[in-house]
Symmetry: C2
DNA sequence: TGTTAGCACTCGCTGTTGTTGAGTGCTAAC
DNA sequence: GTTAGCACTCAACAACAGCGAGTGCTAACA
């Protein structure tokens, strides 16, 4: 793959991203100056097709990039390392939106999703922190009625979960206080991941020996709040789905429906956002494990609190996506979000 | 408007809802037996058009119902009072879905929305309770770090809100305990609506005189959690948006986009669901105050806890909607939901 | 050997035209 | 008041031609 081929491929990708029309050799030679004629470009394009970087919708049309073509383009973007797009101009705006928001992580993520859509004109997704990665901070049990207890779990980075537990027997305030005090002492500083069934069994035994009392609520706490319920509690935020309809590739209502239906399934969203756990993750077309999404690309990044990765935010669009712009934006917003979250946790 | 006209109008509405094709006089006379010829029907249809119940897409097409036509049809459905559609067959399924769910209202509403879509094949919406209508039950302040406090508000019917407050000065556990104990005593049993700025000012004075201490956190509690933040805290659940794409009236991607964009605006969803506060509310086409929604109809009903209306659930579709089925379903689900919510609150 | 001009060919897109058929309104007879 | 008959309308569909952007191939050129 020589230099000229590379330049032509890049030009075709850029041109197609811009126009959404198959790119022909003449158009290309008119708009770009490669110092060779259309005929030469034609030969190069034919080669590029043989190599799998381009595709031809039909014989007498121009070429469009294949997934492999986009992939090469994107890799080169990433390797080049130069500033792709400059979003520092909106720093002010973004931070002001963030700080105006309640300092609850869900509110921040909701705003994040909105902003990603607003600035990219693509559909965007955020995912609330994987609770397993967070650190236990505080547990509080509040009696609500004779048989109902609200359990409040606070982990670091401002995540608060609550759960109503209905106990078979009446619990008095003192018992509840004992249990929560006990757990607060034992679980302090542990990551939620470390709080597994083994640990809880130990603690249960310990609790019985200490207070000579055993309660169902202890087990309920584990199954409903502390245990591996992370997936259940992880929220997905979605915005800008209607931007999908601006894309000519989704003019066909059936293609559109395939994608839109997929976007309604939380589990599926979770999967497309977590294909691997690289910090910056770009999935192009067929690379996507979810077949409903194989006409789409997803650019996502992790956000973190004090260096610990917590969740992902991302942008979803057709494979013909403005990768340069989108990658910069996602990276930029993920950085600010991480900064805000880390600061506020102090 | 004589009996025969009425029968013809009803037949046209039913036929059009079924086929989505303009209904002609011959089709009608073939499928229904009015005992008169197509020509007579033709005359009647012409009259119905003059009266504003029907419309003609173009000269040589059949007629379709106007909004007024649908309205008449729907009113008669409601007045007739007879069982429109029987959904009792799915009672089992619905209750089992509900009881399998965590007894948190948000989880229930999420499931409700999913079910409404699943059984109706239309887009559906739910709205979490208007916190103003709920009754204060408990407030808890948990110190998180030296300057951060988690405020937990529990109101009746299992609604728990939490909010992280960042105080300018360090609060000790005792002070927090005093404030929450004080407020719990004073606010017990009040509806959130009653907790207004006047009451809070009184309480603030009272608190100062009692403990000779004043804290910013008191005011923050009001502005961020107790005060008129109901709209902010009210969540909207949406599901089945992709069913919109099955409707031939939205084959035009621009019409579709208008509606889908509207569905992304929470404020707007709130408005369309709360056009008035009748228990069962049906808004047809142009009756809708939101112009983006004037190609749509919305059928919604309140759900309540122990007779107190809390929020709404609803179904949204094209004006050519299966009103009979949808009305029954919404009513049915709202009833079960109310029952579950009222029981669980005991 | 790589590059280029020329040329025949392909094929989706667009616009025209004709046909079909469901539907209408009107009129006159029942 | 009802109905049969009839001329008329008009969207939808299919067939067809012309256009134009694009291709691959060939032969000539540096």
């Amino acid at each position: 793959m020589d230099d000229r081929k590379w330049m032509i491929l890049e030009a075709i990708v850029r041109e197609y991203i811009l126009t959404a029309e198959p790119v022909g050799s003449r158009t290309l030679s008119r708009r770009y100056d490669f110092g060779v004629s259309a005929a030469t470009i034609r030969n190069e394009m034919s080669d590029l097709e043989d190599l799998g970087f381009l595709e031809q919708p039909h014989t007498s049309a121009g070429r469009i990039p294949s997934d492999k073509g986009y992939r090469t383009f994107v890799n080169s973007l990433l390797e080049s390392g130069r500033k792709l797009n400059d979003f520092t101009t909106i720093t002010q705006e973004v931070t002001s939106i963030y700080t105006s928001k309640t300092n609850q992580i869900h509110g921040l993520l909701e705003e994040t999703t909105k902003m990603l859509s607003k600035y990219s004109h693509y559909t965007s997704i955020s995912m609330s922190p994987d609770i397993q990665q967070t650190i236990f901070q505080h547990l509080q049990l509040i009696p609500l009625s004779s048989k109902q207890v609200v359990a409040i779990l606070v982990t670091d980075s401002g995540i608060v979960h609550n759960q109503i537990l209905t106990t078979p027997v009446t619990m008095d305030r003192k018992e509840l206080g004992q249990i929560s005090e006990f757990l607060n002492e034992k679980l302090q500083g542990k990551t939620m991941q470390e709080i597994d069934s083994n640990l809880m069994r130990e603690l249960e035994a310990d609790l019985i020996s200490r207070y000579n009392t055993l309660s169902d609520i202890f087990r309920m706490l584990y199954t409903d709040l502390l245990g591996d319920v992370s997936r259940k509690l992880q929220q997905v935020f979605l915005d800008g789905t209607s931007y999908m309809m601006d894309q000519p590739e989704f003019a066909d209502i059936n293609k559109l429906k395939t994608v839109m239906s997929a976007l309604e399934q939380r589990e599926l969203l979770y999967n497309i956002l977590n294909q691997n756990d690289q910090d910056m993750q770009i999935t192009i077309g067929q690379e996507n494990s979810q077949k409903e999404m194989q006409n789409c690309s997803i650019v996502s990044a992790t956000y973190s609190v004090k260096g610990r990765p917590m969740g992902r935010i991302g942008i979803l669009g057709p494979t013909r996506m403005e990768y340069g712009k989108v990658i910069s934006l996602v990276q930029f917003v993920a950085n600010i979000l991480s900064k805000i979250l880390s600061e506020q946790d102090e």
